[in-house]
């Protein structure tokens, strides 16, 4: 039995190495291409331009981290632990802001504002819009954690006479910190590589700087320097998240069959709670609604003959990408579980780096790689999605795995189970929530993903997001509205299919 275990571990290690290599190779190809294409005399300093871009990116990360973190945690807590009118609907609605492509959100707000004589431009607006677009990460992960973790502990603290607020601060929040940290880190990474909306709002950022230096100024080396700066911000975020998680490491068996009564909010408290939870989805709907209200004359909808193929392609791609990404994330998480060696941890960290790179840069890496090898565009596209969104499904899984006490595994092994049996019979049932949430996030992310889809897709293969971009970049917000609302609808359908099933555990 020892031999087969060692063999198993070697196989698992090989899988981790393979996944991390697949994730890293496009970036290496890009670095290589940049190195070959460098021009003599290009300076490797940030320059005043680069410093400004760095400042703005850091400001956006901090601003969004605080605003999105507080918003996501508050809504996650309220909707997981308290009951108020409209709670179920509102919880599903939290996916709306994330499902509407941020660049169209920005474009419609700017366009609407300009009709009213209001200039929507600059850092403040960027932070507000990014928080709206990305707090959902914090919400989903913290909500999952709040509803899974330690209701009995909370009950105990309440029965010991600790008030609701103090119970939240002293018990619930520390237990959910790993999940909140993971959510904030994910949303902050999204901010680091956000390009379209930030550029429309006129904020010079690192992600735009990377592309401009490279494409417009032909300075590949300078672009590589900026990419390294962006990568270090992300590495810092991931490290911070890890630290938080280690500090608050507590094992807890989720949902052990005990029914969990919610705290009933009454009177003004329930109104306040419902109001706060409803705020972000309302804003997300309000922006396109305002635009449609003032710009309805310019509203154009392509016929269903044009829209249907777009829909099928978007859905097909998103489903395939979700499968690929979830599979890879699960494998990585399992290996980390069984072989908690530093090398495995580092490799699995590397594998998540694709999320830190702006999509347009990753796309270039895959182009540089895929062209000479004549790889099929669809294969490249799936590779790109997997690389880019691995971190999305991985973060939640890692955090959730850490809540399962190792004693469970040990018990299963001592009873003669192999790792795959432990996975099938113990881990997967316990991880159903995080896996579903991870899958949902990847699905929605892929449906609205733009730079990879735009640059890697085959001939005659437009998707909803591509069509939104084509119209929006031609400054035709009215024509972009119909496909964008469809993307939002899919996010909503996916959320309503998944979120209730999270409850039934």
């Amino acid at each position: 039995m020892t031999v087969s275990w060692r063999q198993n571990r070697l196989n698992l290690m090989a899988v981790v190495v393979l996944i991390s290599l697949l994730a890293l190779v496009p970036l290496l190809a890009l670095g290589w291409d940049a190195w070959l294409g460098r021009e003599p005399g290009t300076s490797l300093s940030l320059g005043s331009e680069g410093q400004l871009q760095l400042q703005n990116t850091v400001a956006m990360v901090l601003g969004e981290g605080v605003l999105g973190g507080v918003l996501g945690t508050a809504i996650g807590w309220l909707s997981a632990a308290c009951d108020f009118p409209g709670r179920r609907m509102l919880r599903i609605a939290q996916l709306l802001p994330m499902a509407f492509p941020a660049y169209l959100q920005a474009a419609s707000l700017i366009d609407w504002g300009s009709h009213q004589g209001l200039r929507i431009n600059g850092l403040g607006w960027a932070i507000a819009m990014l928080s709206l677009a990305n707090y959902t990460y914090v919400f989903l992960l913290s909500h999952e954690s709040f509803s899974a973790a330690g209701h009995s502990l909370l009950d105990a603290s309440r029965s010991l006479g600790v008030g609701p607020w103090r119970s939240f601060w002293r018990v619930a929040l520390p237990m959910a910190l790993p999940a909140i940290g993971a959510g904030v880190a994910l949303s902050a990474m999204e901010v680091v590589n956000e390009l379209g909306a930030v550029r429309l709002l006129g904020v010079p950022s690192l992600s735009a700087g990377i592309l401009d230096r490279w494409q417009a100024e032909g300075d590949a080396a300078g672009a590589a320097v900026l990419s390294l700066v962006a990568l270090s911000i992300v590495a810092f975020l991931v490290a911070a998240e890890r630290l938080l998680r280690h500090r608050s490491r507590r094992w807890n068996l989720a949902g052990s069959g005990v029914s969990k009564p919610l705290w009933q909010l009454k009177g003004w408290r329930s109104v306040l709670a419902a109001g706060l939870v409803a705020l972000p989805p309302l804003f997300a709907l309000l922006i396109p609604a305002l635009w449609i209200g003032s710009g309805w004359e310019a509203l154009r909808s392509p016929g269903s003959a044009e829209l249907l193929p777009l829909v099928w392609r978007s859905l097909g791609l998103a489903l395939a990408a979700t499968g690929v990404t979830l599979g890879a994330a699960l494998l990585l998480a399992i290996v980390r579980r069984w072989s908690p060696q530093p090398l495995v941890r580092q490799l699995s960290f590397v594998a998540g780096l694709g999320y830190a790179v702006p999509g347009s840069v990753l796309a270039l890496g895959l182009i540089v790689l895929g062209g000479p090898l004549a790889l099929s565009p669809l294969l490249l596209l799936l590779w790109g999605y997997g690389d880019r969104f691995l971190a999305v499904s991985k973060q939640g899984l890692d955090a959730a795995f850490e809540r399962i006490p190792p004693s469970v595994d040990e018990a299963a092994i001592s009873l003669g189970s192999s790792w795959s049996a432990v996975l099938r019979r113990v881990h997967l049932p316990l991880l159903r929530g995080p896996v579903l949430v991870g899958g949902l996030l990847v699905f929605v992310d892929v449906v609205k993903e733009l730079p990879l889809t735009l640059s890697l897709r085959p001939f005659d293969f437009d998707t909803l997001a591509v069509r939104v971009f084509q119209y929006a970049s031609d400054e035709r917000v009215g024509a972009a509205m119909a496909p964008a609302l469809l993307i939002m609808l899919f996010g909503l359908i996916a959320a309503s299919a998944l979120i209730p099933s999270l409850e039934k555990r």
Binding site: S114, W296, G316, G327, Q470, E475
Partner: protein, 338 residues
């Protein structure tokens, strides 16, 4: 896991079926295009109707398709590359992405200044960098050349698009060639000092602010104002645009969108036929009608465009503009054009 094993091949099959027929058909031409105007499709459909050759299209942003074509090399299945902006066309030519074609029809239809002298690409449409002026704030007669934008009289009255706009980059390259670096640097600094507000990321939004007298003059491609005047973007935009006067500086900077046959084209003759069709007067009319660009020769017969009057191009070639593109971007960055 079992479920996963079953669904993955299924999804693969689904994706393949979505991509449509992939077998090479004899009568088709594959196009990489940096243009994305929904109206272009109508013109490709007319081509298919006239010739029976099917157009397969991949529209993306310029830099991505250039990079893709470059790295695909021999493996590429693209036959035609369409790009917007002279500098980008020149860059693609320099990278060796096009092959020369000797078509008498193309040589006749496309003026020398709007094509590669060696026949590697041919212009399709012209777009003109113009001034949108609000006569309440600025006397239109006081603006005759691009140099006038830096005059102190315009302090706090000028609106510009950002540096990322390729049309601004090519305009600066144009001025670099015509007026030299010191004058262009001073011109950029003068304009930056004249700005009424931070640079814009959208031409339409900027045009509205000129109409609202937040600034007196904005620098843009005239087709955005033409589109507003047409009512396509709503009656409020039409009313705004009616408050604007379009001024073409003399001489004016003309930018092009153009097409060439890729070096490793598999359907070369079909590709040439497509480009011949796109540069012919029938297609030119289609382009100009739908996207309010100017045809290669003359000023078209679009009633909205004819309101803007005529212009005299400065005659610089795309190769000249392309050679100065990087220097132009650097000059803009170094002198405060955000």
């Amino acid at each position: 896991m079992v479920m996963l094993r079953r669904t993955v091949p299924l999804l693969g099959a689904l994706l393949l079926s979505l991509a449509g027929p992939t077998a090479a058909q004899s009568q088709e031409v594959r196009v990489y295009s940096g243009r994305h105007y929904s109206s272009d499709n109508a013109i490709y459909e007319r081509f298919t109707k006239a010739t029976g050759i099917k157009v397969r299209l991949l529209e993306s942003n310029d830099s991505a398709i250039v990079e893709r074509l470059r790295s695909e090399g021999l493996n590429s299945s693209a036959d035609v590359l369409i790009l917007v902006d002279a500098a980008k066309l020149a860059n693609a030519t320099e990278l060796g992405l096009f092959q020369p074609i000797g078509s008498a029809e193309l040589m006749r239809d496309v003026p020398l200044s709007l094509r590669d002298p060696k026949g590697r690409w041919f212009g399709l449409t012209r777009r003109v960098r113009a001034f949108a002026v609000n006569p309440k704030l600025v006397n239109p007669a006081s603006l005759k050349t691009y140099a006038d934008l830096a005059k102190p009289a315009l302090r706090g009255k000028l609106c510009l698009r950002n540096r990322a706009s390729v049309y601004n980059q090519s305009l600066v390259a144009d001025q670099l060639i015509l007026r030299g670096e010191p004058a262009t640097r001073a011109w950029i600094r003068g304009m930056v000092a004249n700005l009424a507000d931070e640079v814009y990321t959208s031409d339409t939004v900027m045009a509205r602010d000129v109409a609202r007298a937040i600034c007196g003059v904005g620098v843009l491609n005239s087709y955005y104002v033409a589109r507003m005047l047409s009512g396509q973007t709503g009656s409020a935009d039409r009313d705004s645009a009616q408050k604007l006067r379009i001024i073409y500086p003399n001489p004016v900077h003309v930018n092009v969108s153009g097409a060439g046959v890729t070096r490793h084209a598999k359907n070369r003759s079909q590709a040439i036929r497509l480009i011949e069709f796109l540069t012919s007067s029938t297609a030119a009319e289609g382009f100009a009608q739908a996207s309010f660009e100017y045809p290669l020769q003359g000023f078209g017969n679009n009633p909205i465009l004819s309101r803007f009057g005529t212009f005299t191009p400065d005659g610089l070639s795309a190769a000249q503009l392309g050679a100065k593109a990087k220097a132009a971007v650097k000059l803009m960055a170094d002198n405060g054009w955000q």
